[in-house]
């Protein structure tokens, strides 16, 4: 584009130069034609006046005029020659100019080609750079994406933690409230619970015929399910002591203790629906 512009500029300059040259030639041409016409008019006026002049004088005048014509013709020829010379010069100049222009053009073309090569190289380089840039951009985008993801994750985590914290707070609050409510009951209930725990242990202990020989290191775990009123619904072994006789001695004792002493209050009884009985044989009831 830029080159095209340059090309136009050069063309315009060239055209202007040509124009000026022609204008110059034209003006010179006008001068050459107008001058004799003016002179002719003057001559005829003089001729009118010369009628009264003698032959000699006319002869002389003629001679003079002839000489003047000759001189004028010579001058004209000289001028013509000069003009031709000028035109020649102008032509030469023009040819030179054309040559110069051609060489200029060639140079320009060469330059152009060089530029083109350069341009191509530049374009190539540009493309490469663009490619690199693209990669870089992509990487950047990826990084940004990652960063975004991280921040999102972080945000999520923070939000989650906050939510959890809120939830925990809520839970704590509820738990605390429950505790408070429970605390009021607990004082009354705990006494009741402890009392019945002791009663139950005593009831089972009284019926637990300990095996004649048992390993004091052994322990068993039973799950006892009770119905309201203390009726034993089920006795299950959660963890055997490894000594079948010991296990069975306790299971039988639990069944034989049914119904076990349990609190009358439904609320307190609820704590007695399931009993975890850990058996650790130590010795005989005192």
């Amino acid at each position: 584009m830029k080159n095209d512009k340059k090309f136009y500029k050069i063309s315009i300059i060239f055209a202007s130069v040509l124009y000026v040259a022609f204008l110059f030639l034209f003006v010179i041409g006008l001068k050459f034609k107008s001058v004799p016409r003016v002179r002719v008019a003057n001559n005829s006026m003089k001729i009118v006046q010369a009628v009264t002049v003698d032959q000699n004088k006319v002869q002389a005048e003629i001679k003079k005029i002839r000489a003047e014509h000759k001189a004028k013709r010579n001058a004209e020829i000289a001028r013509q020659n000069r003009l031709q010379k000028l035109a020649k010069q102008a032509r030469r100049k023009r040819r030179q100019e054309q040559k110069r222009l051609a060489s200029l053009k060639r140079q320009q073309k060469k330059l152009e080609q060089q530029r083109k090569i350069k341009r191509l190289a530049a374009a190539k380089k540009l493309k490469q750079i663009q490619k690199q840039q693209h990669f870089a951009q992509q990487r950047l985008a990826d990084l940004q994406k990652q960063r975004q993801q991280i921040t999102i994750n972080k945000k999520n985590q923070v939000a989650k933690a906050a939510a959890e914290k809120r939830l925990q707070g809520l839970r704590d609050q509820i738990a605390a409230e429950q505790k408070q409510i429970a605390a009021v009951h607990t004082r009354q209930i705990q006494g009741e619970v402890e009392k019945y725990k002791a009663l139950i242990l005593n009831a089972i202990g009284q019926r637990w015929i300990m095996p004649a020989k048992f390993n004091k290191k052994l322990s068993a775990q039973l799950l006892i399910k009770l119905a309201p009123g203390g009726t034993v619904l089920n006795v299950a072994v959660l963890k055997s002591s490894g000594d079948a006789v010991l296990d069975r001695s306790v299971i039988t004792a639990v069944w034989k203790s049914s119904p076990l002493p349990t609190p009358v209050s439904a609320e307190v009884f609820n704590q007695f629906r399931e009993l975890h009985l850990t058996v650790r044989p130590e010795g005989l009831l005192g």
Binding site: I200, R248, S249, E274
Partner: protein
């Protein structure tokens, strides 16, 4: 978010719910010391022939004699099931019976009987309870309480004369199942029976009988005293002292054949034989040099080795279960006391310090205790001493008991006692819980020893 919070709320409610029904933890550490109530239902007999012995009665008295069980009186039983389908568990639970033995006897002809018996856990079968037998706990695990109540179920075929032995076998099986320890009802005892004839002369018999005192037979009868019977570790032979020809001699008799061999007949005392655990040696008491000393004799070679020395009377040797030491009675400290000798270095230590008379000591099978005759305030009683703590527990209180011998399971001690002036056999459990007398025989029973 809304849904999430609702879910959380429901979860919370559920948690709150379960915490309201949280299981209560209890710890049971103490129970009671008593006999386990069981019932042996008389076995029903079917067929043309009737057995000559009541096998269910043998089982019941064996279990009763062990001291571990309290047998429900058969006269009080309103139901007499002989097979599982006939058992009304609620009835037996109502009687507070822990375990039930049922069975029947089928006469097969030609004196052959087919005996079937079952041992049932009265509390394992909850079918009769009209309740759901499987209950879920809070975790949702189904805990099945409907477990097979049959602990043992066996069938035997035997001739009539094998019924008594079978009864003891079944009692052993039941005992093992219910206590976790080996039964001793099939073991034998040996003792010396002294009978007075009409001319007041004495007749001595070396008698072998079942552990319940029945099924007796004499393997030696002599007009002269028989003393100190001792079972070989394999239970096939008995060593004893016989005064036949008015001289003390040490013999070993084979129980099955009655064949015997003379071991020693030194001048003076030849007494108190005790078998080494490997059965290769006897520790005996000899008085070859006027001092009563403990000597071992190698039964294969007859080689003697004197263990104790000095002027004291050393007698009644017994090997420890590991065979590494012996205990014996000695008056070296003034009064008869029990001493222990390490056989490796012959070092002797006194081990009894309670009472002014301790004799006839022997180890319990675990080697942790000794049982002995213990005199306090002029009364002779059977006592047990813990070798670690030295604590002595008097087990009998009649004041004239003798010759304690412990059962191979270490649970019971048989000893010679007196009832209305007659020598009888007494049984006492090593924990002192149970004491009973075996059926009396005609004559005076002395020096009972429990076979392996």
């Amino acid at each position: 978010m809304k849904i999430k919070s609702i879910v959380y709320f429901i979860l919370f409610l559920l948690l709150a719910q379960t915490s309201a029904y949280a299981v209560l933890n209890l710890e049971l550490t103490k129970g009671v010391d008593s006999s386990v109530p069981i019932a042996v239902v008389p076995f029903e007999t079917q067929g043309n022939e009737s057995p000559t012995v009541d096998i269910s009665n043998i089982i019941a008295s064996d279990l009763q004699n062990s001291g571990q069980f309290k047998l429900f009186d058969t006269e009080q039983m309103k139901q007499l099931p002989s097979r599982l389908s006939e058992v009304d568990f609620d009835y037996w639970r109502g009687l507070k019976i822990n375990d039930l033995v049922i069975g029947d006897i089928q006469a097969e002809g030609g004196g052959v009987f087919r005996i079937n018996f079952s041992l049932l856990d009265v509390y394992k079968n909850q079918i009769n309870n009209n309740r759901s037998t499987s209950v879920k706990n809070t975790m949702g695990i189904i805990l099945n309480s409907n477990i097979n109540p049959v602990l043992v179920d066996k069938t035997y075929i035997t001739k009539d004369k094998g019924l008594r032995k079978l009864g003891h076998n079944i009692a052993d099986v039941i005992y093992q199942k219910l206590t976790g320890e080996k039964g001793i009802f099939s073991t034998k005892i040996a003792y010396v029976l002294v009978k007075r004839k009409q001319d007041y002369s004495a007749q001595y018999s070396l008698v072998v009988a079942d552990a319940d005192g029945y099924n007796q037979h004499a393997i030696l009868v002599s007009p002269q005293p028989i003393m100190s019977p001792a079972w070989s570790p394999d239970g096939k032979q008995i060593a004893y002292v016989s005064f036949e020809n008015r001289r003390a001699s040490l013999f070993i008799s084979t129980v099955a054949t009655g064949k015997r061999r003379l071991v020693t007949r030194f001048p003076g005392i030849n007494g108190a034989p005790a078998w080494s655990p490997d059965g290769k040696k006897l520790a005996i008491v000899l008085s070859r040099d006027d001092n009563t000393k403990i000597v071992t004799i190698n039964l294969a070679t007859g080689k003697l080795q004197q263990l104790t020395n000095g002027w004291s009377i050393d007698t009644e040797p017994k090997f420890s279960p590991d065979g590494k030491s012996i205990i014996f009675t000695s008056d070296r400290g003034g009064s008869p006391q029990i001493y222990r000798m390490n056989l490796a270095n012959r070092q002797v230590k006194r081990i009894t310090f309670s009472g002014n008379y301790n004799a006839r000591a022997s180890f319990t099978p675990d080697g942790e205790n000794i049982i002995m005759l213990h005199r306090d305030n002029g009364l002779f009683d059977v006592a047990i001493q813990n070798l670690k703590t030295g604590v002595v527990t008097v087990l009998t209180g009649a004041g004239n008991d003798q010759s304690p011998s412990v059962a191979p399971n270490g649970k019971m001690i048989i000893y010679a006692s007196h009832n209305e002036g007659r020598g009888v056999l007494g049984l006492v459990s090593t924990d002192g819980r149970v004491k009973l007398r075996l059926p009396e025989s005609e004559g005076e029973v002395r020096e009972p020893v429990w076979g392996p």
